[in-house]
Amino acid sequence: MARPSTTVTRLAATAAVLVALTGCAPEEPTPTATGTPAGGSTCTKESLPTRTAGKLTIGTDDPAYEPWFSGNDPTNGEGFESAVAYAIAEKLGYAKEDVVWTRVRFDNAIAPGPKEFDFDINQFSITDARKQAVDFSSPYYKVRQTVIALKSSKIAGAASLADLRDAKLGAQVGTTSYSAITELVKPSSQPQVYNTNDDAKKALQNGQIDGLVVDLPTAFYITAAEITDAKIVGQVPQVGVPEMFGLVLDKGSALTGCVSTAVDDLSRAGTLTELEKKWLAQVAGAPELT
């Protein structure tokens, strides 16, 4: 004969343990809101509270790389970011001789604490984490996706998206670069996907893929320093949610509003697009594929 009492006891014990576990469920945390920086008042050279009255102090890293600057000299107005910086200065009413450049390490520029500059221009992607420590202006550049290939590749001379249809393209998983392949190029063969750009670069060197899609700043770096027998085939149209570059200002700076307004005006007037075409597509050799 079975003894029901033991069965019942076991069931009760199991139930007790489970109830105890449920009781240990964590509390629900409450989300906190963060404030947004406010704009400035009038934006003229006379009223702007810059570090040195009547001068605009702009920071960038040393060395300053091509094609963002030319010859590591930010004062010559050549290279995309140097040109943008002078365009913004002009918009705010500063002549070329009123602009003073200062060299600040990339990491120091986005660290909290007082700043040596009125604003810093150095390919800073706008991120929420960085916004905790510094102010960003409106974006002056939206990062474009770019196809790179070995100089010996069959797509090295491609001039349009259609020329890439039959190529085997690769990209890092979960990136805008991958979306650029599937949404814009729509190649006939399945794209190759890699865990990291390092794996993808290796596959490109091995000739396992014809072309690799990365963002433009990465493409400049890879073709200049890492795989010297690779070249930029061209930039593809904007896709997905691109990374954006913004000017860095001190947290809570009185200039943020005015600088953002200047960037927005230049953007609306098409000046930024022109500078991008001139310094990135033509001078730096990253033509636009359509």
Partner: protein
């Protein structure tokens, strides 16, 4: 001969057994019900349940991701079939080389032993990297595709595991079997072929199939070299939607894929046990 009529005691015994069966089924059903209810209450009653359900169990997202994940799974299945056959063949060959007798075969035994030590110790990821991204760098003529190279990495690694399983099976056959076979005039090869291997393979069928189920999950690692398998397809879909449902979908599909294999394993084991028992 009088027709069989069960005695009173026998009838009582039968009735008692029936009652016991009914009772145990009822108790099992009740305890399962209670446990299930408690688990459901514990999970769905948690403060974060709604958020978890939204990000891991979203039917619309699962529906959108389904075609891509299924396409990826087809790659897994094809790879699994080829790699399983390859690894079983390689494992059997290595096991036979390791169990060769006689001093003249020492180098062969040493090589086979070295192989199993090396490839059971090497992390699969490293073998995959070397074969899929390292070897093509040699730029040799007629370099096979990434899939073939990745498959070779899996065959090499799993061949090492399976070789040890086969060897355990071969060595578990009692020496008297070997002696009996040789005394009947069978050669070493015939003994192996007709006496030892059939028993050995039958004995280790469950662990062999177990390793095959493990291989089913590992074939997807070939995706690190570019091809898109089910998990990679899920990863891509997750990156696009910031929702983890595609992973759950891939997981469910993998389990469904494993069920037939596991069922076959259980059936083979059961049949072997019955035969051994001579029932």
């Amino acid at each position: 001969m009088t027709p069989h009529t069960p005695s009173k005691h026998q009838l009582e015994r039968t009735a008692y057994r029936r009652r016991q069966t009914v009772r145990s089924v009822l108790v099992a059903a009740l305890s399962t019900g209670v446990l299930g209810t408690l688990l459901v209450v514990a999970v769905t009653g948690a403060p974060g349940w709604e958020r978890v359900r939204a990000s891991f169990l979203d039917l619309d997202i699962a529906r959108d991701a389904f075609p891509a994940v299924l396409t990826g799974l087809w790659l897994n299945v094809r790879l699994l079939v080829f790699c399983a056959v390859g690894a079983l063949a390689l494992g059997l060959l290595i096991a036979l080389l390791r169990t060769l007798r006689g001093p003249v075969f020492f180098p062969v035994r040493a090589l086979a032993t070295g192989y199993t030590y090396t490839f059971r110790g090497l992390p699969l990821i490293i073998v995959l990297y070397v074969l899929t991204l390292g070897v093509p760098g040699l730029r040799l003529q007629g370099m096979p595709s990434v899939l073939v190279l990745g498959g070779a990495a899996l065959v090499l690694t799993y061949g090492g595991y399976l070789a040890e399983v086969f060897r355990a099976g071969i060595e578990s056959v009692h020496p008297s079997q070997l002696a009996a076979a040789r005394s009947l005039g069978l050669t070493y090869r015939q003994t192996m072929r007709h006496v030892v291997l059939p028993q050995a393979v039958r004995r280790v069928a469950p662990p062999l199939l177990n390793d095959t189920v493990a291989l089913q999950k590992d074939v997807g690692l070939v995706s690190l070299a570019g091809p898109i398998d089910a998990v990679r397809a899920a990863q891509i879909a997750t990156a696009e939607t910031f929702n983890y449902t595609p992973y759950i979908l891939a997981g469910v599909l993998f389990v469904l894929l494993a069920i037939p294999l596991i069922a076959v394993t259980d059936w083979v084991t059961l049949r072997a046990a019955r035969r051994q028992a001579g029932g």
